[in-house]
Symmetry: C2
Subunit: 311 residues, 2 copies
C-alpha cells in the first residue's frame, strides 16, 4: 500500500468574471468559498479518506455556496427553471455516475454518486432518479432554496438580449461549473463536477458535465480531470478523455497533456474555459484559456492556495 | 476536391441473438432489413451526397424496421415505456447533435440532427426538444406505432426475473442499437447511432449513444465510429474517442485501433458488443467481441454484404 502525500484541486468556474467588474468584497467572498470547499475535501484526505470521498465533500461545499453556479445559486434556463447536471468518477476502476437536467436534491453530486453506487447505469435523467434520491434519504430542500436574485437578474438580461436578436456572449452568463479532483494517500484519483449550465440555455440542454470523458474523467493509470467552460466544445473534443489519451499514448505528463488540450484543442476551437487535473503521483495542474478561473489547490504539508486570475 | 470511392457500414445491434435460437426465416428478415438500410445510405452516396446524409438515411431505415431496437420496435423500460437515445456527428468539423430519453419522433436521429443544425447545444432531453421537432415538421406518429409485441413480451420476462431476484443477463434483452458510418467521395466521414437502450433499463437511463466519444464519434483526421453493446462500459472506456486517440497518437490504422478497443478495453471489462468504423480513405472495419453483430457494408463498385455471426 502506498502512503504518499495527498493532493486536491477545485474550481468554481472559468471565464465567469472580468477583473474590471470585480470588487474587493466580491473577491474576498469567492476566495472564502473556495477555501471552505478546499477544507472540506482536505479534511477527508488528512483523515486518510478516499479521493472519491474528498471530491464529493469539496463539490458539496461548492454546491452549497450560492456564489457558484451549481446546486444553490444555479443559473436559469430560458424557461426560468434550474436544471442541474453532475457527475463523479472513481479512478480505481473507472466506475462513474451522472445525472442530467435534475432539480430537487440539495447536492446533485450526491445523486450522481447514488447512480454510480446503486444502479447498473452510468447516467440518469428524469423523475425516477429523483425518486431514488428521496428513497436513499438525500436532502431535498424547498424549491426557493436554490433561487438567487443575481442569477434571476442575469436571466432577465439574457432574455432581453435574445428578444432584441442579440447574442449573449458575456462569459459571465455563459459559463460556470464547479468541480474537484483529488489523489489520496493510496494513490487513487477521483473527479467530481456539478453545474447549472448556461444562463439562458434552452430547457433540456445537457452539457459536458454528465458525460464521462468530456467534462469529468478519472483513471488511476492517467489522471482525474474536471472541466469548466464552453461545454459543447468540451464534448466535441472529448476534453477529459483526450488529456488521458495524451498521457497514455504519448507518455506526456498531466501538465503537458492538460495544457495542450486546453490551449490547443479547446482554445483554438471556441472552447473557452479550463480544467483541473491530478495524476496518481499527486501532480496537480490547473490550466485555463479564459481571463480567469476560480480555483484552489493543496498538497499535503503545504498551505491551501486559491486564485481567480492568471496571477 | 478528392473524388474517391465511397464506403458505408451499418449495424443493427450486437450480441442480440444466439445462433441456437435463430431460424432461417428470422435470419432472412434481419438480412433484408440490413440490405434495405444499406441501400438507403448507398443511394445517397452514389448520387454524390454527403456522409452525413448517408448515415442519416441508413439510420432512419433501421429505425423504421421493427426488428431492430431503435425507433419503431424500441425496447421497454421497467415502467413499460420506450425511451430513445440518438446522435449524429459530422467528421468535417466535429459538429454533433444528440437526444436522450425521447419518445415521439418517428426518427430520433432526425431530432438529433435538428439539435446539431439548429441549436447552440449538443445534447438535449425533455419536452422542449420534442417541441422543436414538431415545429420543424418532423413526423410524430401515434404512440402505438412504436409498439411491438415481441419487445413487450421480452419486458415481461425481464420483470418476472427481477421479481424473483434473478439477473437478466440474456444479451438478447440487454443489447441492441443501430448505427451507420460513412465516408463520402469527398473523403468526409460521419456517424449516426440510435437506440431504445436495454429491455428493463431503469426509467431515465441514458446510455452511450447520445454521448459523443462513447457510442458515436466522427472526425475526418481519424475515423467515424458507431458502437453497440453494453453502453455503460462504452462510456467508462470512451470507446469512440479512444479508437480515434489510438489513430491520432499511436499512428494505428482504423482496423487495429478499433480491434484493440473492442477486444481489450471493452472485451476485458464486461463490455460485450462491437463497433463499425471507417476512416477518411474509406477503410472499413466491423469488429465485435459478442457472438454476433447484425451488420452490413458496401464500398463503391462492390456488392453490398450483410452478416450476423462471425462468418
Amino acid at each position: 500500500m502506498t502512503n504518499q502525500p495527498y493532493a486536491l484541486a477545485i474550481h468554481g468556474g472559468a471565464g465567469t468574471i472580468l477583473k474590471s467588474t470585480m470588487t474587493p468584497e466580491r473577491e474576498a467572498a469567492y476566495k472564502a468559498g473556495l477555501h471552505a470547499a478546499l477544507k472540506a475535501g482536505e479534511d477527508v484526505l488528512r483523515a486518510g479518506g478516499s479521493a472519491v470521498d474528498a471530491v464529493t465533500a469539496s463539490v458539496c461545499a461548492l454546491e452549497d455556496e450560492p456564489l457558484f453556479n451549481a446546486g444553490r445559486g444555479a443559473v436559469f434556463t430560458t424557461a426560468g427553471r434550474q436544471e442541474m447536471d453532475a457527475s463523479i468518477m472513481d479512478g480505481r476502476d473507472r466506475s462513474t455516475g451522472a445525472v442530467a437536467g435534475v432539480f430537487g436534491p440539495k447536492n446533485p453530486v450526491l445523486l450522481a454518486r447514488l447512480v454510480m453506487e446503486t444502479t447498473p447505469h452510468v447516467c440518469m435523467i428524469g423523475d425516477h432518479v429523483l425518486e431514488l434520491g428521496r428513497k436513499a434519504g438525500l436532502e431535498f430542500p424547498e424549491a426557493d432554496y436554490f433561487f438567487t436574485q443575481a442569477r434571476w437578474d442575469a436571466l432577465q438580461d439574457t432574455l432581453a438580449m435574445q428578444a432584441k436578436g442579440e447574442d449573449d456572449d458575456d462569459p459571465a452568463r455563459r459559463h460556470g461549473t464547479v468541480g474537484a479532483v483529488a489523489c489520496d494517500r493510496q494513490g487513487n484519483v477521483a473527479a467530481a463536477t456539478s453545474t447549472g449550465g448556461w444562463t439562458g440555455k434552452m430547457p433540456g440542454r445537457v452539457g459536458d458535465t454528465p458525460m464521462p470523458g468530456a467534462g469529468n474523467f478519472a483513471e488511476n493509470a492517467t489522471c482525474a480531470v474536471s472541466g469548466t467552460g464552453h461545454g459543447e466544445v468540451f464534448i466535441r473534443y472529448t476534453a477529459g478523455a483526450e488529456i488521458a489519451a495524451r498521457m497514455r499514448h504519448r507518455g506526456e505528463s498531466v501538465i503537458d497533456a492538460a495544457r495542450h488540450v486546453v490551449m490547443q484543442d479547446l482554445g483554438q476551437n471556441d472552447g473557452s474555459g479550463g480544467v483541473i487535473a491530478v495524476d496518481a503521483k499527486g501532480v496537480l495542474t490547473l490550466p485555463f484559456n479564459s481571463e480567469g478561473m476560480y480555483r484552489g489547490w493543496v498538497q499535503e504539508g503545504t498551505a491551501p492556495e486559491v486564485a481567480i486570475y492568471d496571477e
